[in-house]
């Protein structure tokens, strides 16, 4: 009898399955902020793509930027919402893959340097000039593989302070994602942090930021960032012209609710060459071998 119960439980449990075993079209995204927000955002995207493309579409959540790139490399996902740097790495690893669309804002993205009030850096606007007073403070990046949270801020730190971050600062950390960076600097665990400006503005609008405690002290010059990249072999698997269809479907997104989830005002065309500056910067600071 007990055995029967167990077997019954077993059969019902068979309805659960490992998400990645499911067939169909799969996509992922770099986990650049709170996972609950990502789930909400990409759940909507999956439903939209499914409706427009006519194939089952699944969003595969991952725990790190590297895991997103690896899933793309191993063909466990065919499409991904990458950052500038992760996209460059992914397309380097998968021949024939290409960037197809970016947010309108991603053409001129920027990083905010934010500081805790105890650092004494708030309220002394340096304008466009890099705030050299951050030297010797504690500093947190976002993820190790982030464009806006690592690559670009590290580039400007090296450029203006003339030193590698671990020499220029008292302590250097990697928070893991932008939401966490804001939380860490707001609590004062780090004096200064580098954060994706879109995540900052979203958190500000959601009332999660107390600007008496933490505020922006500088912004980087513009650079290209997030983009949708697709594997080159999707046409073989899903039919000729599939990649182009994905591109037009993404560019056609005009549902304000969907755009607001990113948040981007619209999606525009992108290609691999748009990200050459990112690649060059990564080579300059030694994150990619030339």
């Amino acid at each position: 009898m007990r055995l029967l119960t167990v077997l019954a439980a077993l059969l019902t449990s068979l309805t659960f399955s490992f998400s990645t075993v499911a067939e169909g079209f799969r996509f992922t995204a770099i986990p650049d902020q709170d996972e609950s927000q990502l789930q909400a955002r990409f759940g909507k995207v999956a439903r939209y793509l499914e409706r427009e493309l006519g194939v089952p579409v699944t969003y595969v959540p991952v725990k790190s930027y590297a895991a997103a790139v690896t899933a793309f490399r191993n063909n466990q996902v065919q499409l991904a919402w990458f950052g500038g740097l992760s996209g460059v790495k992914a397309r380097d690893l998968v021949s024939g893959s290409r960037a197809i669309a970016q947010g309108y804002e991603d053409q001129f993205f920027k990083t905010y340097l934010i500081a805790h009030h105890s650092s004494g850096l708030l309220g002394q606007s340096t304008g466009d000039k890099f705030p050299k007073a951050i030297q010797g403070k504690t500093f947190t990046f976002g993820s190790k593989g982030s464009t806006s949270g690592r690559l670009m801020p590290e580039f400007y730190v090296r450029k203006h302070l003339g030193q590698a971050p671990d020499k220029a600062f008292d302590r250097v950390g990697f928070s893991g994602d932008h939401s966490r960076t804001i939380a860490l600097v707001q609590s004062g665990a780090y004096a200064v942090g580098a954060v994706n400006y879109k995540v900052w503005e979203r958190a500000l609008a959601d009332g999660k930021i107390d600007r008496n405690k933490v505020d922006v002290i500088w912004q980087t010059p513009a650079y290209p960032d997030y983009q949708w990249s697709v594997r080159g072999d999707v046409d073989q698997r899903f039919g000729a012209g599939f990649a182009d269809r994905i591109q037009s479907v993404l560019l056609a997104i005009d549902d304000p609710e969907l755009l607001e989830a990113f948040p981007r005002q619209s999606f525009v065309k992108a290609d691999n060459d748009d990200y050459r500056p990112i690649r060059d910067t990564a080579v300059t600071i030694g994150l990619i071998d030339g």
Partner: protein
Amino acid sequence: MSISSAHEFHYRTALGPLSRTAALLTLVGVMALLLADIEIISPEPGLELTRMGLGLLSPRIPDQYVFVEALLNTLSFAFQAMALATLIGFLLSLVYRLAVVRAFCAFIRGIHELFWALIFLQVMGLSTLTGVLALAIPYAGILAKIFGELFEEVSPQPRNNLLVADHISAFFYTTLPLAWRSLCAYCSYRFECMVRSSVILGFVGLPTLGFYLESALREGRYQEGAALLYVLLLLIATLRFWLRRALLPVYLLAAFLLLPPVVEVSWDGAWRFFTVDIVPAPLRNNSQAQLWSWLTLLWQQQLQPGVINTLILGMAALLVTAMFALLCFPLNSPHFVRGWSRRFGDAFLIIGRTLPEYLLAFVGLIVLGPSMLPALLALALHNGTIVAHLVGRFSESLSLRQDAVRGVNLYFYEVLPRMFRQFLALLLYRWEVIMRESAILGMLGFATLGFYIDSAFEEFRFDRAALLIICSALLNMLADALARYWRRRLHLNTTPETL
């Protein structure tokens, strides 16, 4: 030299090795503590701690479907990996006499399951086999060692009395039956560890409880985190009720059906990983001349600081673990507490033991900020409670005189001295584990080897990752060999099935 002083000298050396070893470890531990970066960086740790406390008091399950799925995944990984590890471990233990096999086992268990997971994620992506192999390989190394040592310790008498028997019959009719009980006891203990490890795999993206635990804790959703934590504690606390030998085949079958260990990744990718990706960049690009500068740079920037910090954390944690265990073992010793207070005391120790170091350090990091302190406390809490629980239990066997002193005097003048040998033995067993964990905790941001290994994976520089992982394994092998040497030299015996 007078006769009396010669006597005294002799007397001292006879007592010496045990206290000298303890003194040496203490000295190294104190030096490591002085060097370690252990400040509280979070300015308001109390606030976060209060929120966590409130969460613990009001656990909440937001999505039952996801919850049950994660739970079943956790168990499926654990069952499949345990079956595979037991099989491989058993086969290896049959030839454990060979030095090369012993070295091989030490090497594969020297690499933490999370490092194995990072490697297999590259080769097979987010698939069931990634999780199963990541868990099974290091556990096979551990089981081979324990099985092998159990077989060595079995009384040779029955075997020697056989009149005619080939090796195989002798093994199956004398050695194996004699070791069987210990073997099973050890396997059931290891399964408990396996469940914990399976949870932790979620931190790198496999769909176990850890996947949701990590997100919940990181985003400060402590009610959800608490619910997940209670499930983990409940799962392990009730293990002996549902882990029945007769049900094992059913569980295993369920595990295979639930998460079929299939790989959907091309083998070209796997082949490329082992033949191209992990080859040092200068060799890959046919510029052998630069190999030396590649190595020097890696040594200066990553290997040396990583190894030094791993050693500092490991040795400091060993000392704090020892102190914590000495302070806590009376909680589970009948000579100090009785009845309900002992039950409560032991429950505390068992809960400490059930929470994995990696999870504790992750929570500590949120509360205390990113110095080495959270890692140190996590290692001490987890390992200290294990040692304390066992020392307390072993102290049951001490029989005291009717007129024995009580309280502090009893502790310092009778129980502690009589338990010290066993305490040190347990501590040396834990040393290897502490070193392994010290390296892996770097993945959370402490500057030990794990930090550089994680960075190498993030940068897709698998050649660096491979070299760093090999070094972390060598470091563990060294700790293991040294602990083994000390245990032999100091004649410290403990039954291995307790660890």
